[in-house]
Amino acid sequence: MQPYGSPLNKTETNIKVNLLDEQQLITGCINNDVQCQKALYQKYAPKMMGVSLRYCNSKMEAEDVLQDAFIKIFNKINTYKGIGSFEGWIRKIVVFTALKSNDKRVYKFEPGSLETMPEQSTAPKAISNMETASLLHILQELPDGYKAVFNLYAIEGYSHKEIGKMLSISDVTSRTQYSRAKQHLIKLLAKYGIENR
């Protein structure tokens, strides 16, 4: 496995956002203040890079997505009305950009029924013991369609109905794809020796 760079794990206190500072940053970005834009970028880019990487197949691709996403963020920041967290707003843009960025990426979703899916399991403890970078590498090995559905459902927390709308598929298809993605992921984990122990 080839880990990408050194992932940063900041403590909870470090990533807490001072509301006033965030508001100042937003105002500065609305006024096209480059310093504010840079500060905003420095604040959120590492986290959003982490998000982007989960949807892409390489670091280069993830950086392209991140670049497009930040251009959108800076251009559309005046549309942020303060409803919901600002980070959530940014994350949503990054996720949407990642899903839409690669036009050549055609998600293959095959309709199927859940009954056909045999249930397999992997020890969660084994996953917890893994390095995130290694896990990311395994996640990136998933086919694009599986990767998108798994990311959206398991990590982002979207419902199958929301995923269906985002990917223009039915929620049943999303459910099926998720189940298949999970099975595929378990196989991949097993391939790398991470099994129920």
Partner: protein, 488 residues
């Protein structure tokens, strides 16, 4: 419900971060600036296009003196739905004079609206006309007369003062306007048209016009499309005052024009026959020469933009025919020859013999001729003005040229590669019809006279030959006409 795997992944990636490559922010900034620059350029281009389109399409004031071409075109068509103001002089005992004043509806409504405003404000002068700078004495006179007339109540129009002023105004129009034609029943004053029914001498000899004839009253005719509000406004204005004249140059012109034009161009023909060899023979023996067209047309302008034309059209297509025929003649002759043979035993032996030689001589027979094809047709053409500026009008036309006479002179090849004259070919002498399409420019020298330059293409619809001929032939040509169009 999510199981442990999902939770494990969620926990693992919850705070997962990775620093992107250095310089990514600079790349983002560069892209934003580039996008902004592109947006500025696009906006600038869009604004330029809008400004250009606005400048081009903005309606030019039809009150301007020099905007004659536009005024003419606009004024020439009488819309039956437009309000009309009629001089009821004909109602007056002992007089047959009748003056009809026709307004462009929009202009009248606009003018009336302005005037009503001023009337309410109890103004004695019509500032609408003051806004327009009078550039010559006639216009000033017209404006002054209108101003003084419009300030009076309609009921006072019957006074001799008003009548005198009207009479003076018409006199002035007649005397000073170079373009007015006393023989015409119609004259134009800006967008307003005045028609003098049955009494051309009214304009030519205003002395016959009595003060009584200057009595002006109003009536509306054929205006079903006028909204009631407009109708009321019109009535209100008409009942209190004379609707003011839009000022402009007086031009007498009817809806009829004549046009004479001559064109040179390239013309050819499309030959079809059962054998391709015949077509090849024809094409190799005939070369196109400069062709000519002449046209004399009468034009009827039935709407501001559309007119219909007919008249006489003469087309002469020229060709050069050249054919070289090669013939061979043979002649035999006897020649006595001798040769010496060396025999191994007999030694040298001399032998004499006769030889027949055939001489072949090639003869070239060259035939050349000037082929010319004459066609006289009656055009029926519809023309539309696409764009009109102060001096220029862009025109497009389409129509048919109905052939009434055709003559073909010269030589051509037969399918046997022999020459023959056109008189021996069953050619049509009548009924050769063509379609014509043209896009031309008109330059207005004066309100009546304009120069035209008209590139046009003609294509024959039917064959020049009858069904008995071994081939069919359709002419086509591209001509550029230069001509003169005169308003009657």
């Amino acid at each position: 419900m999510k199981n442990d795997i999902e939770n494990s992944f969620q926990q693992k990636f919850k705070n997962f971060e990775m620093t992107p490559s250095e310089g990514l922010f600079d790349a983002i900034q560069a892209k934003i600036i580039k996008k902004k620059k592109r947006a500025i350029w696009m906006w600038s281009a869009a604004m330029l296009i809008l400004a250009g389109a606005g400048f081009t399409l903005w309606p030019q004031s039809s009150h301007k003196y020099d905007n004659l071409s536009k005024t003419l075109v606009k004024s020439e068509t009488e819309d039956p739905t437009k309000p009309q103001i009629v001089d009821k002089a004909s109602d007056h005992p002992g007089s047959s004079n009748k003056t009809t004043v026709t307004y462009d509806t929009k202009k009248v409504i606009k003018t009336q609206a302005k005037y009503t405003e001023q009337h309410t404000a109890q103004k004695t002068k019509n500032s609408y006309f003051e806004q327009q700078t009078a550039s010559n004495p006639l216009e000033k006179q017209v404006q002054n007369t209108i101003s003084s007339l419009s300030s009076k109540d309609f009921t006072t129009q019957k006074t001799s003062d008003t009548k005198q002023q009207w009479a003076k105004l018409f006199n002035k129009i007649e005397k000073e306007n170079q373009h007015s034609d006393a023989t015409q029943n119609t004259l134009y004053l800006g967008t307003k048209k005045q028609t003098v029914d049955g009494q051309p001498s009214l304009l030519g000899s205003s002395k016959t016009r009595t003060q009584e004839n200057a009595l002006v009253s109003y009536e509306k005719r054929n205006q079903p499309s006028l909204a009631s509000a407009e109708k009321n406004t019109y009535e209100q204005v008409a009942s209190c005052t004379i609707a003011p004249f839009p000022t402009g140059k007086l031009v007498a012109i009817s809806k009829w024009r004549i046009q004479a034009s001559a064109g040179v161009g390239y013309a050819s023909r499309i030959v079809s026959a059962t054998t391709p060899q015949y077509v090849a023979n024809r094409n190799s023996s005939e070369k196109n020469r400069v062709s000519y067209q002449l046209g004399l047309d009468v034009i009827y302008q039935f709407s501001p933009k559309w007119n219909v034309q007919s008249g006489v059209n003469y087309t002469q297509r020229n060709e050069h025919f050249w054919h070289e025929k090669k013939t061979y003649s043979t002649q035999s002759r006897e020649v006595e020859r001798s040769e010496t043979i060396i025999h191994p035993i007999l030694g040298e032996i001399e032998r004499t013999y006769q030889e027949t030689i055939i001489d072949s001589t090639a003869q070239y027979e060259e035939t050349s001729a000037k082929n010319d094809f004459h066609k006289i047709s009656i055009p029926l053409v519809l023309e539309r003005s696409l764009f009109t500026s102060q001096k220029w009008t862009l025109l497009a036309k389409a129509g048919v040229l109905a052939g009434i006479y055709a003559k073909h002179q010269g030589m051509l090849l037969t399918s046997a590669y022999e020459t023959q004259t056109y008189t021996s070919v069953p050619m049509r002498t009548t009924g050769i019809h063509q379609v014509v399409l043209g896009l031309g420019a008109q330059y207005h020298l004066t309100p009546r006279i304009s120069l035209i330059a008209y590139p046009q293409a003609t294509l024959q619809i039917n064959s020049s030959t009858t069904s008995k001929a071994e081939f069919s032939q359709k002419d086509w040509g591209i001509f550029t006409h230069i001509g003169l169009r005169i308003g009657l």
